[in-house]
């Protein structure tokens, strides 16, 4: 019997890969290795509804156990892969067992960037939420280090639970890597209105017991959580001699430089036509899309068309949906008023072409822009900013 297809990593990319392989008619055996004790689950709710206690654990799981138990697939959960032996086409697990593979897929994801702050918590998986949530009781104090998506979503949930929340961000503005200054300013106002204390330009020097020490101030906290970005889990690939840059280098079909090894999700670095270079995307959309592409390639089918990258964040009653990649924009156009209320959009253009949008409680702006970005449409900036022009009429 042929060796199985082995997947290392049991997140959403892995789960989608298994679903897509089944749909694409893959007939071989599949073996999934994951170091957490859980079936593949959705991570976005971990800093949103699951953290808030509004979503039960069983609804986090992407598929029920029965889906994986069907003939031919094996789940090795709570097991860690230690090493890839490319010449022997096998994976060595931490318990000493060895899995030989016909095809290997690395879906190893990313992990929180750690800071030298002993005692601080991080928020990446179910166990993290289980550790943090009991400490978010009314009247307690939370210091969040890092004003990015995870940190701000956590802050929004915690303050609603009656926790006193302070966010310390070292950059001059919030979510600086992901959004433009207008959007950062809006989120500072939003969190202020909801009772979160935000300090930007705040460099944390250390943690002394439950006291967060910055250059010019210190903050006492019952719990400290770090949300300082993520680093890709590329060690297995690197030690196996695969090409690794910011992530595991893959081609358009998600194949590494070893033809029998693919990589998908947060751990990959892939060329994107929209920006004309290789980059690593940490998003559910990217994980699912790369899983579908890899499954098609493995099954010898035509891959689905590449979509415009997109992302979302929910904080308080505000849903922001982002599409495209704004890096390299030379013009930002605001539609609506970001200084009052909670609904506006910012469009990003390069040489007149729409390349990205940040849509705050603006589903039409998001949905229409996704299409226009894919079409590489040139749009008159004055029309984009004019609320009198409906989004569905925006195509010039």
């Amino acid at each position: 019997m042929a060796d199985p297809l082995v997947i290392i990593g049991a997140g959403q990319a892995a789960s989608q890969l298994m679903a897509s392989l089944a749909q694409d008619g893959f007939a071989g055996e599949v073996c999934l290795v994951g170091d957490e004790p859980h079936l593949p689950y959705q991570r976005p709710p971990l800093s949103k509804k699951f953290l808030a206690g509004e979503l039960a654990l069983d609804r986090l799981y992407v598929k029920p156990a029965a889906f994986y138990e069907k003939a031919g697939s094996h789940l090795l959960l709570g097991r860690r892969a230690e090493r890839i032996d490319r010449s022997g086409r096998s994976v060595l697990l931490a318990d000493g067992s060895r899995l030989t593979y016909s095809t290997l897929v690395l879906a190893t994801g990313s992990r929180p960037r750690e800071l030298p702050l002993p005692g601080a918590f991080y928020l990446r998986n179910i166990a993290d939420v289980d550790a943090i949530r009991p400490r978010l009781a009314p009247g307690k104090s939370l210091v969040v280090i890092g004003g990015g998506y995870i940190g701000l979503e956590l802050a929004a949930v915690a303050v609603k639970l009656g926790v006193g929340v302070t966010v310390l961000e070292q950059a001059p503005r919030l979510m600086a890597r992901g959004v433009g200054p207008v959007v950062s300013q809006f989120y500072a106002r939003l969190h202020g209105e909801e009772g979160v204390v935000i300090h930007t330009g705040s460099v944390v020097c250390g943690l002394a017991g439950k006291r967060v020490v910055c250059e010019h101030a210190q903050y006492d906290a019952d719990i400290v959580v770090v949300g300082a970005g993520a680093v890709p889990n590329v060690e297995l690939a690197r030690e196996a001699g695969l090409a690794v840059e910011d992530g595991i280098v893959v081609d358009a079909e998600c194949r590494t430089d070893d033809a029998s090894i693919y990589a998908i999700g947060d751990c990959t670095s892939q060329h994107h036509d929209l920006v004309g270079r290789r980059l690593r995307l940490e998003s559910v959309h990217n994980a699912l899309e790369q899983a579908r592409i890899a499954a098609a390639a493995i099954c010898g089918r035509k891959p689905p068309a590449v979509q415009v990258p997109w992302f979302w964040t929910d904080q308080f009653d505000v849903k922001m949906q982002m599409a495209g990649l704004s890096a390299g924009h030379d013009q930002a156009v605001v539609r609506g008023n970001p200084d009052t209320g909670r609904s506006f959009a910012v469009f990003y253009l390069r040489e007149g072409t729409l390349i990205a949008v940040d849509a705050v409680n603006r589903a039409p702006e998001f949905m229409m822009s996704k299409q226009l970005i894919a079409e590489r449409a040139k749009i008159d900036p004055a029309r984009l900013g004019d609320e009198g022009v409906a989004m569905k009429d925006m195509r010039n």
């Binding site: 749909q23 992407v62 559910v284 959309h285 979302w312 949906q321 949905m367």
Partner: protein
């Protein structure tokens, strides 16, 4: 609990039981209904779980909110009888509902 029948893009009909309180999307994804992508997992952020509802059922479903309405307007294969299946919670009243899945969510 409601038994809901899906017509998949290739015409295959599949009936599944979905527990009360779950969304139709969750039931579909858990049971591997082809053509319900549901990329955002039910946050009404992606509009990739669209379904077509027979006319006689349209008025019996919980009403659309403004976000669902806006997302739907921009779905590539939208029709007057389209709904986002993540926004419909299952109850006994939906037993026997038949839904058609579009050829593509893109």
């Amino acid at each position: 609990m409601a038994k809901i029948v899906f017509e998949e893009p290739d015409g295959t009909e599949r009936a599944i039981d979905i527990a009360n309180g779950q969304s139709i999307m969750e039931g579909a994804v858990r049971n591997g209904i082809v053509g319900i992508d549901a990329d955002c997992g039910g946050a009404c952020s992606c509009a990739t779980c669209m379904v077509y509802v027979p006319e006689e059922w349209l008025g019996r479903l919980p009403a659309k909110d403004s976000t669902e309405q806006s997302m739907l307007e921009f779905c590539p294969h939208v029709q007057a009888n389209s709904r986002l299946s993540c926004q419909i919670q299952v109850s006994d009243a939906l037993d026997g509902l038949r839904l058609k899945v579009p050829q593509s969510q893109q």
